[in-house]
């Protein structure tokens, strides 16, 4: 049996965002599908702006070798370069092990320092000492759906590339704002700009789901970060504290927005469960097939995007799952052991390992159900190591009073504080009925 996240698409997005899966998608393919006229536009654009676009390199200090690559572009006259947070994340985690530099189109390199980060929107600002060039500008208004836009970056370290594609608007189904771009973004292009026909920054390359389906961080998020960085007088030193504050602010907003929405319930078997809550989660459904002797229906809802903190750690996720099970052709003893084995297999919906979190501790008890039945309730939390006051919570509840029917409810909250955990937990128990 697989894990209970039947969200194949989702996990692909996760992976490519990680840059861990170097899905070798051939770039030639991308270029061959665009028309001749667009190719010409792309060439002109690239020639005009190529001096403001860089390859960002994370260098291992001891080995003196590249340890990570991304793209970036000049956004201010005083040498600020924008890229993705996930490009520079290694440096934020281990500043003594790595240093930053850029290489421009002509092959010249220069040292960079980290100036500011935005983990929620996966953005970072780095600064070059001397960079006497004109910065790239942001458009006054967004393109319309269907407009051709141009993604620039250095995929797989093979040299700068322009990839034309289509602007498909802000993805309405994700809480973390992303522009849906129909075009191929590949590893190494992360942090590169996506320009409209006038050469203005519409968005920043961030992730890909493969097959010409890519996502961009809106330029507006970068504009906000840029303003914050430019207003700051003393340079930012404690990036850990900056990340913690961003995570705290984000979960405050996300959970209160979630609680402010009306929680619509829907029937699942004989139980009443929480439906899809746009734009926080997307839901999938499943049911048992003919081969299985028991009957089950389930629904699983999960945030579309998570906050990347490092290759092994993501946060900012809300997810919930419900199962309704009936014995079907199984006798009650076989059904019970199926149900028990299912209950054993729940896992949290965000990645985290021993460098970033502690082990889960759990409270478990038997509770009365609204209809007079009895449930077993397991509530587990684990604390974040570097971001004090933030936790992952896992809620698991199953009915224990019927021999031939059962219901399971589960939710994961990743990166929440006590107040928000408490509020979400109580609302969840109030609304769900089996």
């Amino acid at each position: 049996m697989p894990r209970f996240i039947p969200l194949c698409k989702q996990s692909i997005i996760q992976l490519s965002r990680l840059q861990a899966s170097f899905l070798a998608i051939c770039l030639c393919f991308t270029l061959s599908v665009v028309s001749h006229a667009e190719e010409k536009g792309a060439t002109t654009l690239f020639k005009q702006y190529q001096d403001r676009i860089f390859q960002i390199r994370i260098m291992d200090i001891v080995a003196e070798k590249k340890s990570g690559l991304g793209s970036g572009f000049l956004v201010s006259a005083d040498g600020l370069i924008a890229t993705n947070y996930h490009v520079v994340a290694k440096l934020v985690e281990k500043p003594s092990k790595y240093r930053l530099e850029y290489q421009d189109v002509e092959g010249k390199t220069q040292k960079l320092t980290l100036v500011d980060i935005d983990v929620i929107n996966d953005l970072a600002l780095v600064k070059a000492e001397v960079l006497d060039k004109n910065p790239m500008l942001f458009p006054d208004d967004q393109p319309t759906q269907g407009d051709t836009i141009y993604s620039i970056g250095n995929p797989f370290d093979i040299g700068f590339t322009v990839v034309p594609g289509t602007y498909n608007g802000i993805d309405e189904k994700t809480y973390y704002q992303r522009i849906h771009f129909s075009g191929s973004i590949n590893p190494g292009m992360s942090g590169g700009p996506v320009l409209d026909r006038d050469g203005r920054v519409v968005g920043i390359n961030v992730s890909s789901a493969g097959d010409q389906m890519s996502f961009l961080v809106p330029g507006s998020a970068l504009k906000i970060l840029l303003e914050q960085a430019q207003k700051r007088e003393a340079p930012l030193i404690d990036f850990g504290q900056r990340i913690r504050q961003q995570l705290l602010d984000n979960q405050n907003k996300m959970i209160s927005d979630f609680l402010a929405k009306e929680w619509s319930t829907q029937a699942l078997g004989e139980s009443q469960v929480l439906g899809e809550m746009k734009p926080f989660v997307k839901c999938w459904g499943g049911s048992s097939d003919d081969k299985e002797l028991y009957k089950s229906v389930s629904t699983a809802c999960r945030s579309n995007e998570s906050i990347y903190l490092n290759d092994r750690f993501s946060s900012g996720v809300i997810s919930y799952q419900f199962f309704w099970l009936e014995a079907g052709e199984l006798n009650s003893s076989r059904f019970q052991s199926y149900y028990q084995s299912l209950f054993r297999r729940f896992e949290p919906d965000n990645r985290a390992y021993e460098d970033d979190v502690g082990n889960y501790v759990c409270d478990e008890k038997f509770v009365k159900d609204k209809k007079g039945g009895t449930d077993k309730l397991v509530f587990c939390v684990r604390a974040y190591q570097k971001y004090e006051g933030l936790y992952d919570a896992l809620y698991l509840r199953g009915s224990v009073d019927q021999y031939d029917k059962a219901s399971i409810s589960h939710f994961t909250l990743a990166g929440v504080d006590q107040k928000n955990m408490d509020a979400f937990l109580n609302r969840f128990m109030e609304v769900i009925e089996r």
């Binding site: 889960y360 478990e364 509770v367 190591q385």
Partner: protein, 321 residues
Amino acid sequence: MTVIEVRGRGGQLIERVRCHNEQINIGRAFDNDVIIADPYVSAHHLRLRLHEQGWQVEDLASENGVRYQRQTRDEAEHVQSGDQLRIGHTELHIYHDEHPVGQALKIDGGEVRLAFLGRHFIWPFLLVISSVIMLLSAYQHSFNEYKLLPVLQPVLWSILGVTIIAAIWALVGRLIKHRTYFPAHLSIWFLFGLGLQFAEYCAGVIGYNASSGMLQIILSKSLNFFLLLVAIGASITLATTLLSNKRLWISVGAAGLLLSFQLAGEVQWDRDFSSSPKYYTQLQSPGLLWVAPEDEEISSEQLSDLLGRAVVEMEKIRDAE
């Protein structure tokens, strides 16, 4: 007067012969005083002649000769009471009839009672019970179609495992006591297996009702230890001639050693990081729930307490790095 103790291969006692003659002939032929049924012994192998201090040994030009295992170093072909000779594959122990013997052993009630387990209806009965329980549990844990072969395989492996353990004990008994008690060992270890399953089940149900995964683990480990102690103790009683207090200490030691290997792994697991919760008890059948449910609520105090424990747990992982 002379007593000759004849022992075969592996030191197994064959007979003790009292001889009144001053001259004793030993060999495979039927006209000897002591007849040895060992094909490596010559028809007329040797002659013993009694004199004041012991016996004079005379090799009658035997095929394989005579080897001496004497308590005193003596150049001459001369042995004293208690000395051993080796001819062919046979040991001869030579004694005067005044040679002292040790005190009689008290009959071991434990051994007699345990030997009852070797009766030929007990172990097949336990084998059937164990197999039926394993098959039923496999049936219960199959949610799709029920296929016989994959279910039968682990059952056969378990039976083989028990048989091997019993055979090892039987071998120990054979060597130490010249008694195997194989069926009795078989019964003991089948009972152990059944006990283990029952203990696991009880620990599960108690832990579930107490809502404590930790209690379940402690309970199951203690019961494991107790069962292992009893089973090892029983097998030692059958296989060795040790006195009861020595048996107890050896069983405690062996069970403790085996369990501490297991616990060492367990402690490591407890310290290790896991990306999913480790300690929550599993569900049980509705009929096995005895405690009354509480109100549907997790209070702010409970939550604070839980988060406090999570921070302590996190610090353990962080500091271990």
